[in-house]
Assembly symmetry: C3
Homo-oligomer: 365 residues x 3
């Protein structure tokens, strides 16, 4: 299962990821971070018996000087015998990612910051501001009406290259197709109080404000952890919002999308400002990523699709996300060339677009 050389060597921009853990992991923590489950189930067995679990044993073990397919026990013993900084550097360097766009708004205390992440691997890092996290941190220190001004001010002066909404986790993706009026937002902020934000008016307003500030706006879509109701995370539920925001000309990026990746491709085709990726569903699918990436690329123009890992916590997930993505993209391109759909030059250009050029253009890097 060789990877085409120009895909293997393409420098990657990871336009959506999180930090890596500052510390070693127990087996229980390691397994739970491999998948989206909160914890391993005694009913269901080890998460090493999954696509991503096998991928760790096959692909990560050799980077820690273990044989391919080392057992889970051997792997974790070896991993914990090394310093976590060394482990992280190894996998980050091997990923071939030269630029990270880091959403640091989830569990920041456990994770390396974007700057630390970058410095550990000689890469660049840029911040993605997580809107709900920003709102929750601003809220306690201002009045409801002051909240609006403060959020606007923070977004306007932000050094972030983009914003991210987790509306999918909080209220689902059926955002309204019109900008919420300020008085309605003030009322909703009052009703919210503080703490975890799950008010649909405030969450929709944050999305509009990010676009007003010119920040490319990411939406989590599709599968994630057990907090979501998957059927409310279908990106096509965003259609009224996308229709209403098209004229603003600011990019909107649909993350992950699995198993609605075809729906995301449709949205990226018909709306001029919409882009998509497969995020989590590359390392999460392991050796099966090729079929799903091919599906994701069925109707999306190649100028509209980006690479990301959604890696969180384990540095292995950066490496596996990049490796599985390269394997899947290579399979897609090799099949296309075999079918005479395009020539070698075209395959090179598609690779550059998806690996980095689309991200560079969208985020103005």
């Amino acid at each position: 299962m060789g990877i085409l050389p120009f895909v293997a060597e393409a420098g990657l921009i990871d336009h959506h990821c999180h930090g890596v853990l500052r510390t070693d992991s127990t087996r229980a923590e390691f397994e739970s971070l491999l998948l989206e489950a909160d914890e391993v189930s005694v009913l269901g067995g080890s998460f090493f018996d999954s696509a991503v679990g096998f991928a760790v044993r096959r692909w990560c073990a050799p980077l820690l000087d273990l044989p391919r397919h080392a057992s889970a026990e051997e792997y974790l013993e070896r991993r914990n015998s090394l310093h976590i900084t060394e482990v992280s550097r190894t996998f980050l360097m091997a990923s071939g990612i030269h630029t990270f766009l880091v959403d640091g708004g989830f569990q920041p205390e456990r994770l390396l910051s974007g700057a630390e992440l970058a410095s550990s691997s000689g890469a660049d890092a840029h911040e993605i501001v997580r809107l709900e996290h920003l709102a929750e941190s601003v809220r306690p220190s201002v009045s409801p009406s002051g909240f609006l001004a403060e959020v606007r001010s923070r977004l306007a002066s932000s050094s972030a290259v983009g914003a991210k909404s987790v509306a999918a986790y909080r209220v689902g993706l059926d955002l309204p197709g019109a900008r919420p009026a300020d008085p309605d937002v003030v009322r909703a902020v009052s009703a919210w109080g503080s703490g975890r934000l799950a008010d649909p008016v405030v969450i929709a307003w944050l999305a509009w404000e990010a676009l007003d500030a010119g920040l490319p706006l990411q939406f989590h879509a599709g599968y994630g952890d057990s907090d979501i109701d998957l059927h409310r995370c279908d990106p096509s539920l965003l259609t009224p919002f996308l229709r209403a925001t098209a004229s603003l000309g600011v990019p909107v990026l649909l993350l992950h999308n699995y198993p609605f990746h075809r729906q995301a491709g449709y949205l990226a085709q018909v709306f001029p400002h919409v882009f998509c990726d497969l995020g989590l569903a590359t390392h999460g699918l392991g050796h099966q990523a090729s079929r799903v990436l091919a599906e994701a690329l069925e109707i999306v123009p190649y100028g509209k699709f980006l690479f990301s890992t959604d890696a969180f916590g384990l540095p292995e997930l950066y490496y596996l996300g990049a490796l599985m993505f390269r394997q899947a993209l290579s399979d897609f391109l090799a099949d296309g060339m075999h079918r005479e759909a395009f020539l070698d030059d075209d395959a090179h250009r598609i690779t550059r677009l998806i690996a980095s050029e689309n991200a560079t253009r969208v985020y103005k890097l």
Copy 2:
């Protein structure tokens, strides 16, 4: 990637298509007609960098005496150096489609009529009456109560071989499971006034009237342009309507369906009067059409699936729709024979059913 000879040579009935443009196209118009987007996005790059764009360069270029994979610039320059009538004839003839069922109700002023389409390629053409277009054209000249009688009269005397509903575009596919009562329809017609019809009662009533008139009834389902809310175009939303109309014994045809083509296959399996196709998602997927056609054929009986192109505007789309369909059907059959699922004779029969015999039976051609 050879095509099995009996698939390559099968005469096709295209049971859902539109006309071709009367005039040459600028690059912007050509690109926008390749996909479902309204226009090319400066953010997202050329639509030639898409599955269908590469298919034009690979498969259409040689028919205009250009080398395979000619550039977009070369292709359009050559195309515009020829008369559009000649270009259209070339692609229509090469498609191997001998009968067109033409929905002429969308932008008729820009397009060749069915008769013109047919005469330019020596084929036959039949009309599909677009229900909402009919209603919108009748409405200004009659009273609300006269409207019902006039539509009934038009449908009863129509020379069309079938009708088409674009409920998906106007109100979504969750039509009620009961026939609207005439007084309710009269009230809804009054409330509508005139212009673009988007009243759910009137739209449901039109569908019932078409079936009453014995006209096989097509529904747009699945993806289309940016007017639709994709999640409201899942054909399984039609279930109450299909359950209520099964006893009428008049065929209902679900068009396109992507990415809900498996749902469409289910409906065609369990309801005696339901049929489906993949329409737009053959030329739209280019070299990736084979996987999706195989998915579409998973659970549908082979007597229930039809060929169509949904070609609109560009004659290339007839050719590509037919070619990609042949390639995909050939791949499906070759895989089935390789797996010993059926013999050569069976593969021939399946081909005849899907290529033309199912359409002949459904539309009584």
Copy 3:
């Protein structure tokens, strides 16, 4: 299309099936039992022209001493020349299923019981109690308040190894995320009266009661016959119920799931007590089952996926369900080994888990 020897030889537990018919079948009955349709449609042709129809001719014919690909006429003539008991024994024995978990609550008068099924093939059988059938049979003999106590008593003393809910058929899968209060259930039972149960409160209550009794709980999900509204059978609609019941620690099993099998894999990944299968969509897909099983196994941990046939009526469906499952699992494993995702030993372990060990653990067999 060889099957890996250790997959071909694995003993299977069929954790969801029904009985086989006591009598011969006419061609019309045979065809209608092949698919989920009520009857063959004159508009649509023979159901032998379908994936499962071809599978009967290819794989079942030789077991009746006919040549491969015998015609439908030859097949049925030969089948009806034998005693149905002999036909059933032949296919049941050839399936390699050593344990049946039988839902006997649908049309029991037409079918062999679980015990008869088992004795005819030298296998073991266990009962799955169908909740709505239990409720409907209890209802006429008790008062509304007595109904609750009687159902609880029946479940507590049941010899069944699990329970099954057909909420999908009656009310859809969007069960509430909280246990119904007894007074509300009593009111709902009163309102129901008796006969076919389609009350959402009673149906949700039954599911909670099964879990309280410690019975692993199966839900029909995804496609079935024309009674269902497919979009209401998406297993992700169960999310609030699954979230609310996770702490009970009793397994919940999502059956069939097609075309929502990826959604089911997500639920089985993130909820500790959730498991899934592909049921009906193995024999129903025939030679195309491999792609769909691979999709179903994309993100589910291998300790969370089970084999089942959902065979009903025709003994051929046990054999085909088992055979297509073996072929599909073998294709999945062979591809994984070819891609170096795992070694031979791992492939053996995955096979054992899915073929029988997961079922043994879940149902405490």
